[in-house]
């Protein structure tokens, strides 16, 4: 959206067409030519240790390609050679020192120099600011403003910016408008001046959002004027990211990093963008920024935020303290410290930091906005809402605050208030993609039907509410009863459950943007999840997802949201496994290879596997690992130990204390025992996987990239197919390697593909025994079942499929195949049980409902028959009259005569002359069947 705005006219009227003055155009060409010449020199001829002092053009080129150390040493060479330090050399030197975090040396470099008169006053002021010397900065900017160094405009901006940071909004605003005026008068000619204009527009955007467009335009002009200067592109990227447009941000920043892969600010901006996108390279990119400039305060602050989001509170504190040490006045660093204190529950310390910040800037609403964000990351949604409310109280133009307030009200189920605040936010900042998307979504809520049950309020799209609601209500109430008993806790009800038929809508509801990989999300009293219609059949089990999310409601609320992420996720998967066979029990090959390679995370780092994964599949592995931890604790210490842990977290204890209290174990001793257990449990599989690549290999190709709310369980590719097999070589290999899972499975798959079923059985059985939990594509069970069906060994086919479904919750075709086999074997009770399970994968198959209805009627389970016949009606069948008639029959059989009468009337509305329905109506109203052979209730096929 904001990209489109770039093509629009700015709202202010320019007095003359905007053309670069001749002087400026020449200057731009010169700079570009210099940069190009310098780059060429670097690429072709620059010696590693130059004998001759480099020219300033060459040094400038080195600066812009990230060779900061070379810049510094070259300028030292020039100085040693007795060349007089000229302003340009000083500027290059100071910029290189800044880029590498040598702020003290940068300050020292100005000793004895009249910076303002030589056009370096602004740089002098910025150096002072980096060291936390605000007064020094103010003096430098003021000197630059009045001197003849040509920096008046930029210095004025910096002074206004200082005032802004101190909360003197009125004065600052006047200064910013002066920048716009300067632009309109045509006196903002240099790239640096245009960046100052752009930043002024950006900051004024809170009063007039049209100015965001103008900021973009000014940044663009600055880029055009000096294409090799990285600053406008970085600021442009930051503006895009501020508006949640990460793709544009990434493009702008990538441009800078292509020329200068070591630019610390660009690396930081890219790390932010990556973190926003959930790109696992964010941490490494941030590390790279800090490697170049260990004193880059913004990077330290950002790292502290990431640590805080990963619930590594100690490390977050350590990081932010380094930033505060570098600049004790830094508002952003102190704000993160406040967040750490708050999340850790250190109320007095929190109040002290908060009050200190507000003393320096009484209108610093972003203190509370950041606190709200940090609260969200730690699942403290009520607290986030309250902080956001404080932000807008402090600054009624904090559109970010209104956005956070609205979002968190929505998360807590306060839809009307949430919408109103989002609309306020949007009126002040119409370029915020998150807010716009969320408002668009909220507008569609009128299309959702509300279905109440004892403990839930479901919001399901009207197109599928009739079909989904009965199953969702039944499952959710069952889960409620189970979880209340297990956790000895009853959350406040009703719990709101939103079900989205469009995954994009679910994603917007969760993170404001499309593209989230997760299936469901829990905000405590509010759950949101994909409808089964949102994904392809076989990619998702909505029942397991609903159970998973509801378990979060219990574990979050019973601990006041103080539970670590790994534990709440682990318990949710643990609860899935206890709910139905096959749910939450998908052991992937990368899990085994990670275990083998020692790459599973210890308990202290496990949150990183969810929040800052190093490879895409690490999230999925972490879910499973966390659930096994819960299994292990229950097996060894009983479920009461888990309850003790939950109570400990609620009391604010840390994981070390909680483990000690519940199990008497330190974290390291726990890790030792737990991993020993895993190695024992999966020992055969680990050995059988040989040297199969770890998670950076095949696993990286998995589709899963989910973040919050449960791992995606989309089918993965078949690891054992895809190449033309040399069967004789495979046969030989299989003989020589009877304990190699991959070889046995590849051989079995190859024989199966050749339809050599009898021969395929042995290697597949061997593969199954080596890694019984493997149920991915190409698994032994599915193929063995096919083989046994071909060989008419149906009982073995049934056993194979039953084994598969002990570990797989989404295998649609296999569920149906098993149901068919059970039907052929006359095991209708088992058939019905399997068909029931398919409903949690997809309730849209009419044949499944028909079979269940017939089974239920035959068994006299009329309530189930009614449910299934109602589903068939909800599926909008071609023969609607007949579907309604059969529903009416089931209702009559279930003793619901009144309902049956209504339903049969609906059938007759469609087909007034449909005689079975007529006869049923006559029967229901006491007119009785008149003639032989016309009694209602004889069900045909």
């Amino acid at each position: 959206m904001i990209r489109h705005a770039r093509h629009g006219a700015p709202h202010w009227v320019r007095r003359r067409p905007r053309r670069l003055p001749r002087r400026t155009r020449r200057k731009a060409a010169t700079l570009a030519a210099r940069a190009a010449a310098g780059a060429l020199a670097v690429a072709l001829a620059w010696p590693a240790a130059a004998q001759e002092p480099a020219s300033l053009d060459e040094i400038e080129s080195m600066l812009r390609t990230g060779r900061y150390e070379d810049v510094i040493s070259q300028l030292e060479v020039r100085s040693d050679a007795g060349e007089t330090a000229e302003p340009r050399a000083l500027r290059l030197s100071v910029e290189a020192l800044i880029a590498t975090g040598r702020y003290d040396e940068a300050v020292a470099a100005f000793e004895g120099v009249d910076a303002a008169e030589t056009g370096l006053g602004v740089l002098r002021g910025r150096v002072a600011l980096l060291g936390g010397d605000r007064e020094g900065a103010r003096q430098a900017f003021e000197s630059a403003r009045v001197a003849r160094g040509g920096e008046s405009l930029v210095a004025s901006f910096e002074l206004a910016r200082l005032a802004w940071d101190e909360g003197a909004i009125g004065g600052a605003t006047t200064g910013f408008y002066a920048m716009i005026d300067a632009y309109n008068r045509g006196v903002a000619d240099t790239a640096e001046e245009l960046v100052a204009v752009a930043q002024a527009c950006q900051l004024l955007g809170r009063d007039d959002p049209e100015l965001f467009k103008d900021a973009l335009r000014a940044y663009d002009e600055a880029v055009a004027l000096d294409p090799s200067w990285p600053v406008p592109r970085i600021r442009l990227g930051e503006l895009f990211l501020e508006k949640y447009d990460s793709s544009q941000a990434r493009a702008a920043i990538a441009d800078v990093l292509r020329s200068n892969p070591r630019h610390p600010e660009a690396l930081l901006a890219m790390a932010r963008t990556m973190a926003f996108d959930g790109d696992p390279r964010a941490v490494a990119t941030l590390d790279a920024a800090l490697e170049v400039n260990p004193n880059l305060i913004a990077a330290r602050v950002f790292r502290a935020r990431l640590r805080l989001a990963s619930e590594r509170f100690g490390e977050a504190r350590e990081e932010v303290e380094k930033a505060i040490q570098a600049d004790p006045e830094s508002l952003t660093a102190r704000t993160v410290l406040a967040a750490v204190e708050f999340i850790e529950g250190r109320d007095e310390e929190f109040a002290s930091v908060r009050d200190g910040i507000l003393a320096d800037n009484p209108r610093y609403a972003d203190l509370f906005n950041e606190l709200a964000d940090a609260s969200v990351e730690n699942r403290l949604y009520p607290q986030a809402r309250d902080f956001a409310a404080e932000a807008v109280r402090l600054d009624p133009k904090s559109w970010r605050g209104y956005g956070l307030l609205g979002q968190n009200q929505l998360r807590l189920g306060d839809i009307e208030a949430g919408k109103a605040n989002l609309e306020r936010a949007f009126s002040g900042d119409p370029y915020n993609v998150w807010i716009k998307n969320t408002l668009d979504l909220v507008d569609t809520f009128v299309e959702y039907r509300t279905v109440q049950s004892e403990h839930f309020e479901f919001h399901i799209h009207e197109s599928e509410a009739e079909l989904l609601a009965p199953y969702m209500v039944e499952l959710a109430e069952e889960a409620w009863a189970v979880l209340v008993e297990r956790y000895r806790f009853e959350p406040p009800s009703p719990v709101r459950v939103e079900v989205y038929p469009s995954h994009a809508d679910f994603s917007v509801r969760t993170v404001g943007l499309a593209g989230l990989g997760a299936l469901g999300v829990c905000f405590g009293p509010v759950l949101a999840l994909d409808s089964p219609s949102a994904r392809q059949v076989g990619h998702f089990n909505w029942g397991a997802t609903l159970w998973h999310e509801l378990a979060h409601t219990f574990t979050l609320l019973v601990t006041d949201a103080k539970i670590p992420r790994w534990f709440t996720e682990g318990l949710s998967v643990f609860e899935e496994r206890r709910a139905r066979p096959g749910w939450g029990d998908d052991v992937q090959v990368p899990f085994i290879t990670s275990l083998r390679d020692g790459e599973l995370l210890g308990i202290a780092e496990l949150n990183d596997g969810f929040m800052r994964p190093k490879f895409p599949n690490q999230i999925g592995l972490s879910y499973y690992q966390a659930s096994l931890i819960c299994d292990w604790i229950e097996e060894n210490y009983g479920f009461d130990a888990i309850l003790v842990m939950l109570a400990g977290y609620r009391e604010g204890k840390n994981t070390e204390e909680v483990f000690q209290e519940a199990m008497g174990l330190t974290l390291s001793s726990f890790d030792e025992r737990f991993f020993e257990h895993l190695r024992e449990r999966f020992g055969t599989a680990m050995a059988a996987l040989g040297d199969a690549p770890g998670p950076g290999g095949e696993a990286a190709e998995d589709e899963d990239g989910s973040g919050e709310g449960g791992p995606s369980r989309a089918p993965r590719r078949n690891l054992f197919a895809g190449q033309t097999p040399d069967l004789s070589a495979l046969e030989e290999a299989a003989k020589e390697n009877p304990d190699d899972f991959r070889i046995q499975m590849t051989y079995g798959n190859a024989l199966f593909a050749e339809e050599r079923y009898a021969e395929a059985e042995a290697p597949l059985l061997r593969g199954r025994d080596l890694f019984p939990e493997f149920v991915g594509p190409g698994n032994a069970y599915t193929l063995l079942a096919e083989i046994y069906r071909e060989l008419e060994r149906d009982n073995e086919a049934i056993e194979a499929l039953e084994s598969l479904l002990q570990h797989n919750e989404t295998a649609w075709d296999e569920h149906l195949a098993l149901a068919d086999l059970l039907a052929e074997a006359g095991r209708s009770e088992d058939e019905a049980a399997i068909l029931e399970r398919t409903l949690y994968i997809s309730p849209f198959d009419a044949d499944v409902h028909r079979r269940l209805a017939e089974f239920a009627s035959a068994e006299g389970r009329f309530d189930i028959a009614v449910r299934e016949r109602a589903s068939l009606v909800a599926l909008d069948p071609p023969d609607r009259a007949d579907a309604l008639y059969r529903l009416a029959l089931a209702e009559r059989d279930a003793g619901r005569a009144g309902q049956a009468r209504r339903t049969v009337l609906r059938a007759l509305e469609v087909a007034p002359g449909y005689d079975p329905a007529q006869e049923l109506l006559l029967d229901l109203v006491g007119k009785g069947p008149a003639r032989e052979g016309r009694q209602p209730g004889v069900e045909g096929p």
Binding site: S533, V537, A911, D915, Q918, L922, V925, R931
Partner: protein, 339 residues
């Protein structure tokens, strides 16, 4: 179930009395299978064509009223009456004008490929294609017949405008000439006529509207269940405004809305009302009266209290069921043959 056939035959007759078609009107069918391009398509279009032709005969059309022009006559020389060249298609429409009379129903059904994104909308035939305007001109010869023109080809949406006129039903498989992907609409349409699948109101006949609604619903289900993006959206126009509707309403709608005429036109031939006795005529009159009251009640549904509506509906439906029961008994007493 033994008596079901006799009762159904009688009900068809009674229902025929209620339709707006003139008594004793004949129904004629021309099915055209266009050029397939590939063996699979040629076979598919032939299959759909024969399903519709056979269904029409099964529904009472004399075989001489059914003409099938196919791409390759050798596929079924007994059923295919000629090659589906443009000349033959136009000649057969002219022949239909000669064979039929004013008030007759004439169905023209095209299965095949079409195009329309560039140039005029056309239906692909062996040899020269015919464009929509040529069909429109040819249909002028049938101006005083009720014409149902179905183009079940890909990219057929462009036929609606040129062919639309009052008293004519036009059905297309797509909403525009741009929807040029393979179309499955024809298959579901054929299925709707063949057997009872499309007979939503269980009156033993499939109307043009019922067939269209069946095909639309099944197309929607097919694309949804297979996780595919839907590339065909059928339209029906019968109010002459040149704007097809994806969800035409039927007799419950005002006359200005698509679907009303289509709900009253059936691919089949009614039994002759002269076979009715005085008793059954009286029952038929009563039945017509009840049906009319039901229709009136349903139009008031939105304004009535739900319980009141259901109570009145129940009363009428019971009355109708009792009349139908009497009709059935009358049929049995008259010893009507089983079908």
């Amino acid at each position: 179930m033994k008596r079901r056939g006799a009762a159904l035959a009688l009900r068809l007759t009674v229902a025929g009395l209620l339709s707006v078609a003139p008594l004793c009107a004949d129904t004629h069918l021309l099915v055209v299978a266009g050029v397939g391009g590939e063996e699979a398509y040629t076979g598919r279009f032939h299959l759909w064509s024969t399903r519709v032709a056979d269904a029409a005969i099964a529904a009472g059309l004399p075989s001489e009223n059914v003409v099938y022009l196919g791409e390759r006559e050798d596929l079924d020389p007994e059923r295919i009456n000629g090659r589906s060249t443009g000349e033959n298609v136009l000649a057969e429409i002219a022949a239909l004008a000669d064979r039929s009379s004013a008030g007759d129903d004439v169905w023209i059904v095209l299965f095949g490929h079409g195009s329309g994104a560039a140039g005029p909308p056309r239906f692909n035939l062996p040899g020269r294609d015919l464009v929509a305007d040529e069909y429109a001109a040819a249909l002028e010869q049938l101006a005083d017949r009720r014409v149902v023109f179905i183009n079940a080809s890909s990219a057929s949406g462009g036929f609606i405008g040129p062919l639309s006129r009052e008293g004519r039903v036009v059905i297309t498989a797509t909403k525009s000439g741009g929807q040029s992907n393979e179309s499955l609409f024809g298959g579901y349409l054929a299925e709707a006529f063949d057997g009872a699948a499309g007979d939503a109101n269980k009156d033993g006949r499939t109307s043009a509207l019922e067939a269209f609604a069946f095909a639309q619903r099944e197309i929607e289900r097919y694309y949804r269940q297979n996780g595919l993006l839907r590339t065909e959206n059928g339209l029906l126009d019968d109010d002459g405004d040149g704007m097809g509707s994806p969800e035409p309403v039927g007799v419950e709608a005002s006359e200005a809305t698509d679907g009303r005429l289509a709900s009253l036109v059936y691919l089949g031939q009614e039994a002759q009302p002269s076979t009715l006795t005085a008793e059954t005529r009286e029952l038929a009159d009563r039945r017509a009266g009840i049906q009319r009251r039901i229709d009136e009640l349903r139009l008031q549904r939105e304004t009535l209290d739900e319980e009141v509506y259901l109570s009145e509906l129940q009363e009428l439906m019971v009355e109708l069921a009792l009349v139908d029961r009497e009709l059935e008994e009358a049929a049995v007493d008259d010893g009507e043959p089983e079908p």
